[in-house]
Amino acid sequence: MLKILIAADGSEGALAAARHVVRLAKECAAVDVCVTYVQEPILNIELMLMPAGDVFDRWTQKSGRVATAGACALLDDARVPHRVEITSGEPAPTIIELATSQGSDLIVMGARGLGAIKGLLLGSVSMKVTQLSLIPVTIVK
């Protein structure tokens, strides 16, 4: 069983990552796929100004559903079963934490996410994940 974690953020790179996992799922007999989205934290002052305590959490869930929708649709089309995990925190370390706690064999992510400049070799999150992760990371373009 190959346990794969896809780091998604709604970018083209995340879709490419999902496509790669679809290929892997076809090549390997058994895969376990988790699509994750990590919402970056907002400033404390913003949190304090929020009308209800759970606004940030609801917002995180909502943006997570939007951000993972494309990747999930590709996996659905290819009938690759998958889970979705949405959480908040500093993206790179949180992605690695999730992968580690789930016992993932592989993290798959796009070379660049939503925030990156086009000419850049690797986006800052992809760069940090490849830097910090003890789990192999596949960078997909």
Binding site: M1, L2, H20, R23, L24, E27, C28, A29, A30, D105, L106, V108, A111, L121, L122, M127, T130, Q131, S133, L134, P136, V137, T138, I139, V140, K141
Partner: protein, 141 residues
Amino acid sequence: MPTILVPFDGSEPALRAVEYAAKLAKAGDNHAIVVLNVQAPAPSFWPEKLVNEDMLRAHYASEGAKTLEAAERRLREVGVPFRSEVRAGLAGDTIAEFARDERVDSIMMGTRGMGAVGSLVMGSVAQKVVHLTALPVTLVK
């Protein structure tokens, strides 16, 4: 048959990349592995009478074969089909070129190889490969 290219320079991360590729090949069906050692080109100041093309080629082949032994041993232990290749040239460019010419499906390599400084984020070779290829690149610590 999906082919995985594993550039191998004899470093620890490269050996872990070999192990990882072997694991994936075992999990999948019909994966083929190509281990590639790239020899740094010899300095060109030798007079041609002393060192000719054939001698160089033989030198690259024997040095490369020596380096690849560790990878081959491991792949034989796991029992996955593979083939070995040696090329001479600039590592990053040669790996990307080989991947394109031989139409491999993905590349798996160490995040840092022999040449890298310990504190470096990503070795220069891995960076170059990620930059030059359109294929998925899996980086292994």
